[in-house]
Symmetry: C2
Subunit: 111 residues, 2 copies
DNA sequence: TCTACTGCCTCGTTATACGAGGTATGATAA
DNA sequence: TTATCATACCTCGTATAACGAGGCAGTAGA
């Protein structure tokens, strides 16, 4: 069963912020890590991820820094700013509240 | 805490299909019922709901029928077609799968 | 009479996901 | 050596969506 494209919307930022709150990561790594944690169910598309990272950066949530690994390859590492850390906590909470509300409606709450 | 607008996306169809799988409803009633079940947290906007209903109708998921209540007011009732009933089950399942996957990433699964 | 609620609708704006395409490097296999 | 693959970054255009704002009309109540 493929992931419903529509459902993905809005969860992007939550996931990026959460992952970066655990450790600094570069874009490609975020994609791989999401695949790993979801047993290959959730694949960030590059056309989605990179613009999203730039937007979070523009909003002041992220810092970016080029680092060179032992392989000699350049990687752009992202880390959370103080503001970004707050946004990470807030967005995760919003996610839980939101799913709780939808589940309430789905389960026929207050019936 | 206001609902994150972005998170709402994609959950619209799931909720409409689920509500209509319980009983026939008219548009305005869907809005009221969502508010009631979510303790006023989830309000379908009319500019969102009516186009969504029309689209589901166009896809063959819904039937619509004008009925006159005892008040004399015309209401357009929607009900699920056979195809719509299948879509309702499928979309609800997709919702649970999707939230499970996101929660897995958020919780650091496979770490 | 005037306001509030019910009940339907459309249009324009804004945002977004992402497919498709591009560039460049390093590693591996033929 | 050469070709291919994985890594690693990016942008642009398209399609779609949410929804604010507006409009219409009937009913109820102050």
């Amino acid at each position: 069963m493929p992931l419903d494209r529509e459902l993905l919307k809005g969860s992007i930022a939550v996931l990026i912020l959460k992952l970066l709150s655990e450790r600094d990561m570069y874009g490609y790594e975020i994609i791989q890590e999401s695949l790993r944690r979801s047993d290959d169910a959730f694949e960030f598309k590059e056309g989605t991820l990179y613009p999203a990272l730039h937007q979070l950066h523009k909003r002041g949530y992220l810092r970016s820094e080029w680092r060179t690994g032992e392989s000699g390859k350049q990687r752009k590492y992202y880390s959370l700013t103080a503001v970004g850390r707050k946004a990470a906590r807030r967005s995760e909470k919003e996610w839980f509240v939101f799913t709780k509300i939808v589940n309430a409606i789905l389960s026929g709450a207050n019936s």
